[in-house]
Symmetry: C3
Subunit: 457 residues, 3 copies
């Protein structure tokens, strides 16, 4: 079903509504309490919540399955955990915060002297009021995490220690959802779903992508959009292992995490460095009114590590607000729902929608009258008299599009070179196209039918 049948790619703009921030926040808040880890019921419950919004396909990979160099882990499920002092009072209680138990802690039911117990407690001495977030996926161990200030108040006595967890064969679970476009070429949007009650990292990313997927339903697009909700590292690796040939269809991609705080935005480029996704996000952020940080690829971070491993080298970047590890709230109990705001979620969401909008509508046009400028005035293409700023910008955009639509420059190229917003450049192109001064040179997707003429003013 080609977009030409009445579809308007600019409907993407319509996805950006003022209530989007609240809606994303609301879903983040809903999934916040779930005790997620890399495999187990926490992931399942989270995917079920997503599935209540979009038609998510849920995949279950048996523990022990080989995925590249890795093995699908056992499931970890936990019912309760606490430390009771000699008086029988719970000095640490999993029911109060699931961060209190190191993820993948083996079951424990014992009584320990303080000295011994301390060897199993993580704290943050420099942030004494915060509970750290810790994991031990692949080394069998157990531990509690607690505020250093409370840790210091522990009396030298005997403690009852209980972790009522199970670590047993089951499944590694991930979900994916495909928004089908004209082309089989894909835009990947990926969020990790393995962190417990951390709001920004990554309830925010899960909620943003869920909202986006839901809003895109019915929208005709050139690309197909694959939404992947998978546990960090092992989930992305499992997906790649099971989709090794499909991966080459990914023409653009974003890993989305920590999108609700006030920082950044931070964009880490794909390993390629100059992929369309890198140029598109950079352009959007440059015109966002925010103070973006654009960073080169490095092989540490989130699942872009896997998508950008040299055997795949996919054009997938990382979109965040504050960069992972750069803020005191990172991987602590301070990353709670008060740390993310609807406004910041809306800004992040808008930037991602605008990026998609660029990728969808970028293309090369040809100046149909390349010798000298055409006479814009007789076509009403000059800005209205009086010199309004917008009119002047539109006139500049028209001149830029005419001058650089030489077969070597697409709209995004022209937007970058002119430093004008892509939307203004695209609007100029459409105006010129409507007057026969510009023709679409080629579709942006080689395999797709020509979309010349899809877009009318």
């Amino acid at each position: 079903m080609p977009a030409g049948d009445g579809a308007d790619p600019r409907e993407l703009d319509d996805l950006i509504t003022q209530d989007a921030g609240d809606d994303i926040f609301s879903f983040a808040a809903r999934i916040f309490p779930i005790c997620r880890s890399i495999a187990g019921d926490g992931v399942r419950k989270t995917l079920d919540e997503i599935k209540s919004h979009i038609a998510l396909d849920i995949h279950e990979i048996p523990s022990g399955t080989q995925v590249f160099d890795w093995t699908a882990p056992r499931e970890w499920n936990i019912r309760d955990a606490y430390i009771k002092n000699a008086d029988g009072a719970k000095v640490v209680d999993f029911a109060r915060s699931n961060l209190h138990v190191m993820s993948y802690s083996v079951p424990v039911r014992t009584r320990l002297a303080l000295a011994e117990l301390k060897r199993h407690i993580h704290t943050l001495p420099e942030q004494p009021d915060l509970i750290p977030y810790r994991t031990s996926y692949y080394a069998e161990d157990w531990a509690f995490c607690m505020a250093h200030r409370e840790f210091e108040r522990l009396r030298d006595e005997s403690y009852e220690v209980v972790i009522d967890s199970r670590l047993e064969d089951g499944f590694l679970t991930y979900g994916e959802y495909l928004h089908e476009g004209e082309s089989d070429d894909e835009f990947l949007l990926s969020a990790h779903v393995c962190h417990p009650s951390l709001a920004n990292d990554n309830c925010s990313g899960i909620a943003l992508l869920t909202h986006l997927a839901r809003r895109m339903v019915g929208l005709k697009t050139r690309y197909s959009y694959r939404f992947l909700f998978a546990p960090g590292t092992i989930g992305a690796i499992a997906w790649l292992a099971h989709n090794e040939t499909r991966a080459s269809s990914i023409k653009h991609g974003l890993v989305v995490s920590m999108v609700g705080d006030r920082g950044g935005p931070t964009y880490k480029k794909s390993r390629r460095g100059d992929a369309v996704i890198d140029r598109a996000v950079t352009h959007v952020l440059r015109h966002s009114g925010l103070t973006p940080k654009i960073e080169d690829f490095s092989p540490y971070g989130y699942d872009e590590r896997q998508f950008c491993s040299p055997g795949f080298n996919l054009p997938v970047g990382l979109f965040q607000r504050s960069k992972y590890g750069s803020i005191p709230q990172y991987h602590t109990s301070a990353d709670d729902l008060s740390f993310i705001k609807p406004d910041h979620l809306l800004e992040s969401y808008s930037a991602i929608v605008k990026t998609i909008d660029i990728v969808e509508t970028d293309g090369i046009y040809l100046n149909a009258a390349p010798k000298c400028e055409p006479q814009l005035g007789k076509r009403g293409l000059y800005g209205s008299i009086g010199g309004k700023r917008d009119a002047a910008m539109q006139t500049m955009a028209i001149l830029w599009v005419l001058n650089f639509s030489d077969g070597a420059h697409g709209l995004l190229d022209i937007a970058q070179r002119s430093d004008l917003p892509f939307a203004v450049i695209r609007q100029a192109a459409h105006a010129l196209q409507a007057h026969g001064l510009l023709v679409r040179a080629e579709p942006a997707i080689a395999a797709a039918p020509s979309s010349a003429g899809d877009v009318a003013l």
Copy 2:
């Protein structure tokens, strides 16, 4: 007639004399009062003045002639215009300033109440003492322009309004002059001749190029130099339309406008960005002692817009002092003869002559003894003892020329890389050539006879 017959390309230096600034100013002052527009007697009178200095070819293109996407306009000629108040006093008088009438105003002879009249008056409220410069070439309209302070003093009464203009079929007029060099390859120098009494924009450019053309008479050059005096936009388009094949002979070019104020200099690169003209002007300005601004090409400005349209993409840049639109005097009555100075005209002229000098004499030389340095001392090529600054610079220039005359670098390349003035590098090359240590590798113009040996110290 090859330059080898006694010609010395360095005679170009001789064109820079202290009186050049006064001479250019003087001619700018002479043509300042003429009421120019894009077609009509104003242009003709201006071209006649130029023709009194150089053998200008004047071309007349009938109104209505199609030139690419445009049509040669009707002529606009004006005898008088005024607004008289109820007392019969002229509150606006074309005889006092031709800026008072919007260019291409249709004839008017009527009586209007103030309210109605005001809809036909342009002012600059933020610069209340200045008359704006306005045009309406392609929309039939009429208007007066006046100082806002005077506009505010207009009494609420009835006014007699007269514009004694004619808008009728005639000719679009432009002039060109060719200084013939050894080669048919051309250096284009272009000034717009369509603005009324604005001194900097562009009496200054017209006068500078007229002076240059006159001074170049008799000078043997490698390139041919085409001087084009044409109305902005439509004139350049008409020239290109009538010289579509010849355009490819243009190897270098400058649009010259607003060259008499104290600003800049400003150089806007050609669309190519790294053409010889771009590198030569940049180099000259970098060593000018002034505070130049080098800007990338953008498709807004003067006639470089046409020369750099994608169907031509000629290596033509824009040379100015202050950039168009960047100063309060721009397109107002403050752009009068007091705004331009002989000193600034001389600086602009010198920069253009030095640019031509580079283009004329740039070339690739080959180190005849490329293994190790030759012994300079035994040839007297080391600077005099005592370490004078000039001698040290000359020694450095000799070492740079020797080291980089490897077949891949021309003199301008070496001047850029060493950050030494081109003239110093060239002098070093000539000294080395005279001692047989350097040979001319190839002519700068492929079609021209080899000029190796043209230049002796």
Copy 3:
């Protein structure tokens, strides 16, 4: 004898010992008093001193021999020189400082009035306590050099002037030493030996290279290392003239001079600008903890001028502390043994050894499991728990090596891109290689036998 037979290229690290600075200083002090010039016994004595440490080959080229554009000079030897005043007191005495006599001064034995004598005296009026260093190799002349303060105290009387020198046919002398490696490809290390009692320029360079050559004895290397001790300019030219074909075997090279002061370090890149030597030295200095200055090539300086002449264009850079000519001590009596320090010599020496270490061990490896990251934890390749800084850096290095070992990037490339020290990157590569996650793709020297497997952790 391939390096695989038990050799460990990292033994290069072992060459850096704390006593190296003292040892280099000590040898510099030993050769400091010798009155060197470009040909004569001063050079011979210096080479003999070097030969007492390494098996130097000494070459003697007869005066008058043509070497490219130059001619081997006569020898200059001097026994004594002085100026006696009317009282018979020596007001200038060669025995006190060999800087007092301009190098290559012809013999003189005369009596002169002060006015006449002054025409043969060089001083530094702005540094009145220092004796300048002056030469006149190719113009027959004589002169004394003295402190300006003493010069001003000379009474107006008659002086006895004696320079007991001989300028006669003999030999131009230079020494070279070859440390043979697996390959005939060479790393050139060159120091000039023509300056008299100047400690930094270049007793420091001579001593550093002598120490290095001695320490490398017995070390198995991939490259052969050619140490050249030759008079500046004429010596390098003579070597190149006699080794014209061998020069192409030089794959990397450093000219080493002024390496004992506290400045810089300063590295002037080879003419190529992006040679391995340029990238290696830049990388080492960037991680040296010092404040390096990296400069582009210019054709003025030391013997890199000859090695980088366009007919050779060898990848040879210049390593210094303060740049020649940039400090007040340069070419004056203030460049004495108090101006150089063992600590600075050690820093310079370390940087050069580390550079050699990079060149020796750089190479391209291939990620053996390029799809997704391999599981580092199960192999013990993750840093120890607790987040030690070194462990974190090692983990990052492992990730960088895995991600960029794609066949297009060598270890030095990865070190530059990650901004991690080469040694850390190399250690990561060896660790990965030991675990079968990385394989050596190709030897760094095409002609050499594969060195894959040479290096075990």
